[in-house]
């Protein structure tokens, strides 16, 4: 008889693996990918391909020649970062900006901290915010969606986002009613399906929610983070809307415009940079929701969730230290 293997218990393992989790996330992103291809056509494919390829390439390059460590490009995390990065930029972004963004995402956001599992911030958001600050013009020139099979009605190539129109209108002293009358403002149906200007993957709330439900069912994310962000945004924005409906827009508007759904469901739930306990996840989600609305209402940018997530990422270690799971035998009396 050949030698027996000795190791500690347990002697069986569930079927979870890192790559399985990562590719489940990619699968969850497919509906939003299809919507972006529908609205932006070849441009969407171009941006996705460049972003994913650049992220995987830079991870390989850094691991092979700088760290000289084991290669982990097969675990799928670079692919996830690549798709998410692409989702956070306009479909007409010049390729070289995207490549620089991918380098920052992988090089600064991930590898500089030691690779997967050690990055305190969501790498794709690090890349996105870097591009937003460095290339503000290119990063905020959104193409108008051109549905694949629809007749072309306008000649416009780029247009403002719903949040952009709102911010500008408020800045110009217009009332909400006046702003909503703007012909560029997407209506309810467009906001839900994603037929509006915006970053590649942030537009279709329906597609993003669909993927989110899939991830919750497959236990890749916990519902606590997205639900607490969305609920906080709704309640907080709702309070101000009740106080002054002509200055603060209705709360549902905030849910279906800009990157809120993408951020809440796919960026804030990044395992590595979000808290571990369920209590901690709720605190983190509420924090992101509050900060998002604060930035949207009173900040310099029309959009706020990227910054809100990055800032709460920084609080994750503190939240982990203080928000412990409910221990067995410590009954809540």
């Amino acid at each position: 008889m050949s030698k027996l293997i000795i190791s500690g218990s347990p002697h069986v393992h569930g079927d979870e693996s890192v790559s399985k989790i990562m590719y489940t996330v990619v699968l969850a992103l497919v509906p939003a990918m299809l919507v972006s291809v529908y609205f932006f056509g070849f441009d969407a494919i171009r941006v996705l391909a460049i972003s994913v390829a650049a992220c995987v390439f830079f991870e390989w390059l850094i691991q092979k020649y700088l760290i000289k460590g084991p290669l982990t490009i097969n675990d799928g995390s670079a692919v996830v970062a690549g798709v998410l990065l692409a989702f956070n930029v306009p479909a007409n972004l010049p390729w070289w900006i995207l490549v620089i963004g991918a380098l920052v995402t992988i090089g600064v956001g991930k590898m500089s901290f030691g690779g997967l599992g050690r990055n305190p911030f969501n790498p794709a958001l690090v890349g996105r915010v870097f591009m937003l600050i460095s290339f503000p013009v290119q990063m905020t020139s959104w193409p108008v969606p051109k549905p694949l099979f629809a007749p072309q009605l306008t000649d416009a190539i780029t247009g403002p986002t719903a949040l952009g129109i709102l911010k500008e209108g408020i800045g110009a002293g217009k009332t909400i009613d006046q702003i909503m009358a703007d012909p560029h403002m997407p209506d309810y149906i467009d906001r839900l399906t994603g037929n509006m200007s915006g970053s590649l993957g942030e537009m279709s709330a329906m597609a993003l929610i669909l993927g989110g439900i899939f991830m919750v069912i497959r236990k890749v994310i916990d519902w606590q983070v997205p639900v607490s962000i969305i609920a906080t945004v709704y309640v907080f924005a709702g309070i101000f809307h009740l106080i002054d409906p002509q200055h603060y827009i209705e709360p549902a508007f905030h849910l279906f415009t800009g990157g809120l759904m993408l951020g809440a469901i796919y960026m804030a739930t990044d395992m590595v940079s979000s808290p571990m306990s369920m209590k901690g996840k709720v605190v983190y989600g509420v924090g992101i929701g509050l900060l998002t609305i604060i930035i949207r209402l009173w900040g310099a940018y029309p959009e706020g969730i990227s910054f809100a997530i990055l800032i709460l990422n920084a609080f994750t270690p503190l939240i982990n230290m203080t928000m412990k799971p409910k221990r067995f035998g410590k009954a809540t009396a």
């Binding site: 008889m1 050949s2 027996l4 293997i5 000795i6 190791s7 500690g8 218990s9 347990p10 002697h11 069986v12 393992h13 569930g14 979870e16 693996s17 890192v18 399985k20 989790i21 982990t72 675990d75 995390s77 690779g115 997967l116 599992g117 050690r118 236990k219 916990d222 395992m271 590595v272 940079s273 979000s274 808290p275 571990m276 306990s277 369920m278 982990n320 412990k324 799971p325 409910k326 221990r327 067995f328 035998g329 410590k330 009954a331």
Partner: protein
């Protein structure tokens, strides 16, 4: 109806109850028995026989001298050939009594070795405890805590419930399942006797819902026994854990660092209840037990009634022999059992099963970086943070592991089972528990 279960965490490993339909079979006596002295939690008993002594089946061969200890009896008739060391199932060398088996079973005086059902219950509390102590009974669920000690409640403590563990949540194991099907009457008597000893009015037998035949059979039997009921439980590992079982059955939480009696409960295994019955009504010491021998490659997954001291290799032989591609022999179940270095070790009181794993399933997968997915925290039935405890243990920060309640870890392995990065969390936790325990003891 929603089935009862414990609240926090838990996992559901793939079930392979291969031997569930194999009735309990008597395993023939081997030529030699090796009876290790340390088969119980606590101090090992002291041998009272020497080389050359003739012993009868059931005769006392080692006496418990400490409070937490258990007597040991000759599992068969024969001659003591030596008192020497032997490798036990965990790979340690321990003192053991070697008995050359004569082949003929001559039982020691006063023991009733027949299978007839005795339903006499007019024993006093002290009588029951004395007989259980004499018979060397320990918890047969695997923890091997001396049963007579458990039956003697600390002064001032009162038990409301006797909870009987028929959960058998380990995948593959079926020894308790078969016992519940084949010895239900005897188990009921054993429970009644323990209820008398503990002076409790209510006993609940918890059985996981993957054994509907056992639940139905026990429930039918329990009708004749007022105070005893059967509760079907949702299938979830580690429900056989004492604290998880109490939570599932009576919704009470044993406080951190305390014993079940703190919440008015005493927990005992179905196998132990059977042993108590035999000890009290038949004066039969604990010299045999039911052992499941199983594995995916095994030709005859079986449940054997085995004399203590029988080599594990004889059990494997009787179950069809070691499959060609075997990689691991586990004493116990796949979640909490110990990998054995050799099958040439004796069956002891705590052996509930022998599991043979094919080579391709025997090696661990390559560990990867922790992605902080928090699955280990979600599945921990004690509400601990395994990722954190493992990290602190690795950094040798034992004051921090103590503060994070590492001593509450029940070593169920759910965290490691679920870890997508294949990190050996439980290895680190065990090491951390050991070191933290030293730290706590040194402080006293």
């Amino acid at each position: 109806m929603k089935l009862k279960t414990f609240a926090l965490g838990g996992v559901h490993p793939e079930e392979h109850k291969l031997s569930a339909n194999a009735p309990i079979v008597n395993l023939p006596l081997p030529a030699q028995l090796v009876v290790p002295l340390g088969q119980n939690l606590g101090a090992p008993p002291k041998p009272i026989v020497k080389k050359g002594d003739e012993v009868k089946t059931g005769q006392l061969i080692a006496r418990a001298e400490a409070f937490i200890s258990a007597n040991l009896h000759a599992p068969a008739t024969g001659k003591v050939v030596k008192v020497d060391e032997a490798t036990d199932t965990s790979g340690y060398r321990r003192p053991a009594i070697y008995i050359e088996v004569s082949g003929e079973d001559k039982w020691a005086e006063g023991i009733n070795p027949t299978n007839e059902l005795v339903t006499r219950l007019d024993y006093s509390r002290d009588e029951i405890i004395a007989k259980v102590k004499e018979a060397g009974i320990v918890g047969l669920g695997g923890a091997t805590f001396p049963t007579h000690v458990k039956l003697m409640l600390p002064p001032g403590k009162k038990a409301d419930y006797l909870l009987i563990n028929g959960v058998e949540c380990e995948p593959y194991l079926t020894s308790d399942h078969r016992l519940m099907l084949e010895k239900a009457q005897e188990i009921m008597q054993g429970i009644r006797l323990m209820m008398i000893a503990l002076e409790v009015k209510r006993a609940i037998i918890g059985v996981e819902n993957n054994k509907p035949d056992a639940i139905a059979h026990l429930a039918a039997m329990a009708l004749a026994h007022p105070g005893i009921s059967v509760q079907a439980l949702k299938v979830k590992y580690p429900q056989g854990g004492e604290k998880q079982l109490i939570k599932a059955l009576v919704n009470r939480e044993v406080p951190s660092g305390k014993l079940p009696i703190e919440v008015g409960c005493v927990v005992s295994n179905v196998g132990t209840a059977f042993a108590v019955y035999e000890a009290v009504t038949k004066n039969k010491p604990l010299i045999e037990r039911v052992v499941t021998v199983t594995g995916l490659g095994l030709t005859k997954p079986s449940n054997f009634l085995v004399r203590i001291g029988t080599p594990v290799s004889a059990l494997i032989q009787a179950a069809g022999g070691m499959p060609e591609n075997s990689g691991k022999i586990i004493n116990g179940g796949p979640m909490m059992g110990k990998a054995m270095t050799t099958p040439e070790v004796p069956v002891v009181k705590g052996s509930s099963g022998i599991l043979i794993m094919p080579r391709e399933l025997s090696s661990r997968k390559e560990p990867q970086a922790c992605i902080r997915c928090s699955k280990c925290t979600t599945v921990c039935p004690m509400g601990l943070e395994p990722y954190l405890l493992a990290r602190l243990s690795k950094l040798e920060r034992y004051e921090d592991t103590e503060r994070e309640q590492i001593m509450d870890c029940i070593e169920c392995g759910s965290c490691q089972f679920t870890c997508p990065s294949n990190i050996p969390l439980l290895d680190y936790l065990r090491l951390g528990k050991f070191r933290t325990g030293q730290l706590i003891r040194n402080r006293k």
